[in-house]
């Protein structure tokens, strides 16, 4: 069972990379690859061409050579391969029946299988080494350096983008499957930086392209860190205890029989089912107990408004009365100009006037603020302009 599972996984991986690369071509050719078998069909067809030698093959010969597969499947794949140029007519004339295969698609196929097995990291390392080699070549010119830098920039942007999209949108399981994107990133970045250094030393004029490369490298490093952070965070205590991820357990329990399940639990001791009281929980309970104990809890309400409108109204009223009495100082009426001048500057006077206005408007307080015509203008006063008027008690 293990073997088949692994096989299926490997096939799926090949398929995934293959699909990414050929999706566009295949869609145009009307034949998306939807089955790992089709890859084998392709390979079988190309194998048949390799056997056939320089004479090439007709469609019929090819299907005969690939007897292991269904006839119509072979014919369809043959068409697809022909449409994207992997197989071409031996001589380009209308009724030519014999075909030859190009070697490039086969190399591509091998390359893809290898890449999917190793996640493309090895190829990227080789690419980086090659780039470093070519930019250090004494015959290299600035254009080559620039092209090389731009290629690397794109590679790392794609890597970083894919990873950060995965981090922000996918489930942890998906992220874990794609962890290959994050493997060996330090070595990769180091190598890319080496290329970057060589190019920048040789052709300082390329600093703009180099900046782009640096940015894409930094973005990739960030994405790796985010992904690693998410994986670690999700792993949590289960990782600390050396346990498998939850998903694995769920799959296992669904797919296993009684014997297998019992075998896993053999040697594990469980506590009897009992409620747990952690000190934190007890502390919380004690705290909440204290709160409910001291006063009856008000029904839940937004806390900012629970500060009782009634008492504040009462204290407001008393505050206003005290302020008004302080201003009146035993008199029945006080002129506004006096109040303003007593206050000193306008900032204070403004506050006092606001309170007197409030006292005037308060329905339970017997004070009024009466404005009259005319204005006092005195440049030497704290508030040079002041309207006449008076603040006084109301007789009821």
């Amino acid at each position: 069972m293990d073997a088949t599972l692994l096989d299926a996984e490997a096939e799926a991986a090949v398929l995934r990379v293959y699909r990414q690369v050929f999706a566009v071509l295949a869609r145009e050719a009307g034949a998306m690859i939807v089955d790992p078998e089709l890859l084998d069909v392709d390979q079988a067809i190309l194998d048949a061409f390799a056997e056939a030698g320089s004479d090439g093959l007709t469609v019929e010969q090819a299907t005969l050579a690939c007897r292991g597969y269904r006839h119509d499947v072979i014919v369809r794949r043959f068409d697809v391969l022909r449409q994207y140029g992997a197989i071409t007519k031996l001589v380009d004339r209308p009724n030519e029946l014999r075909h030859r295969a190009a070697f490039a698609p086969y190399v591509m196929l091998m390359f893809l299988k290898r890449m999917s097995a190793q996640g493309g990291q090895a190829e990227l390392h080789q690419l980086l080494t090659l780039e470093a080699h070519s930019v250090s070549d004494p015959r290299a010119v600035a254009e080559q350096g620039q092209a090389s830098i731009e290629r690397l920039t794109k590679v790392f942007r794609l890597l970083g983008n894919e990873l950060s999209i995965l981090v922000s949108t996918s489930t942890t399981a998906q992220l874990r499957e794609n962890a290959q994107l994050a493997w060996g990133n330090e070595r990769l970045i180091e190598q890319a930086e080496k290329v970057h250094r060589i190019v920048l030393d040789r052709w300082p004029a390329l600093h703009r392209a180099c900046t782009q490369l640096r940015m894409s490298l930094a973005a990739y490093a960030d994405a790796v860190q985010l992904a690693a952070g998410r994986l670690v965070e999700r792993a949590g205590t289960t990782r600390a205890l050396g346990l498998l991820p939850i998903e694995t357990w769920l799959t296992f329990t669904r797919g296993s029989g009684t014997e297998v399940l019992a075998g896993v639990l053999d040697g594990l001791l469980f506590d009897a089912a009992a409620p747990e009281f952690s000190p934190e929980g007890m502390l919380e309970a004690v705290e909440s107990g204290r709160r409910t104990g001291t006063a009856r809890m008000a029904p839940p309400r937004p806390s900012s408004e629970t500060e009782a409108p009634e008492p504040t109204a009462a204290t407001d009223r008393e505050d206003l009365r005290a302020e008004a009495e302080r201003i009146l100082a035993g008199r029945d009426s006080v002129g506004i100009v006096d109040i303003v001048d007593d206050s000193g500057d306008w900032i204070t006077a403004r506050r006092v006037l606001a309170e007197l206005t409030a006292a005037h408007l308060h329905d339970e307080l017997d004070y009024e603020l009466v404005w009259s015509d005319g204005m006092r203008i005195d440049p030497s006063a704290g508030t040079p302009w002041a309207t006449h008027g008076s603040f006084r008690r109301v007789k009821r």
């Binding site: 289960t238 506590d271 009897a272 929980g281 919380e284 204290r290």
Partner: protein, 214 residues
């Protein structure tokens, strides 16, 4: 019993594990051989020993939460947790040492601390809540509650509290009002011995298991 244990150590372990997994902490006689994976909590008088599963570091109910499994529910969880906290204040007198075995506390003390926690005089309704919580905690070995004598001790389960949890408990003891100092033990010199305590509930399983092994 020992020869049988030596003969079939594996099945001996399995038997004990099955007992502990189904019944929780077990009280056994002190000459019971050690069982792998079980912690022994000796009674202060040395007459008997409690056996309960050893929790590895980091394993606990936090793992259950992480796995999305609901913990075992308890009636009135807050009330029960409060009473357990109060019992810790009353019974854990040497705060620098482990909580097990602790001292004997009385219902009077618990009621006093409870009222202090609530910030009001004692009420008759408190007693219903407190007794209910004590019974629940006794049933799950968090406390050993002797209802006839009105005395309580910390249960064997508290032996699993590690240093970090004891720090949290010290904080609780600091917040809670101090229990009245005089521990009213109605009995004489035989008072501190907790033998009679588990005689109603805890001894039957112990004796039954002893019977089963001999």
């Amino acid at each position: 019993m020992t020869s049988e244990a030596v003969e079939t150590g594996r099945s001996y372990n399995a038997l004990w594990w099955a007992k502990v997994q189904s019944a929780g902490a077990l009280q056994v006689s002190p000459d019971t051989p050690a069982v792998a994976g079980l912690t022994r909590a000796a009674e202060p008088d040395g007459e008997s020993v409690w056996m309960l599963p050893t929790l590895p570091d980091g394993a606990g109910h936090s793992v259950l939460e992480e796995l999305g499994t609901p913990p075992v529910a308890v009636e009135q969880p807050n009330e029960t947790a409060r009473v357990l906290a109060i019992c810790v204040t009353c019974c854990w007198q040497d705060r620098s040492g482990p909580a097990w075995p602790g001292a004997v506390g009385t219902l009077t003390q618990i009621k006093a601390v409870y009222a202090g926690l609530r910030g009001r005089p004692e009420q008759s309704s408190d007693l219903t809540l407190i007794i209910g919580s004590l019974r629940r905690l006794h049933a799950t070995s968090w406390l050993i509650w002797n209802e006839k004598a009105g005395e309580v001790r910390l249960g064997p389960r508290v032996i699993t509290w590690g240093p970090s949890q004891l720090t949290g408990l010290r904080e609780i003891c600091r917040i809670l009002p101090d229990p009245p100092r005089a521990v009213l033990t109605p009995r004489g010199p035989t008072g501190p011995a907790p033998d009679p305590l588990p005689s109603e509930d805890a001894t039957p399983p112990a004796s039954a298991s002893a019977d089963g092994d001999t």
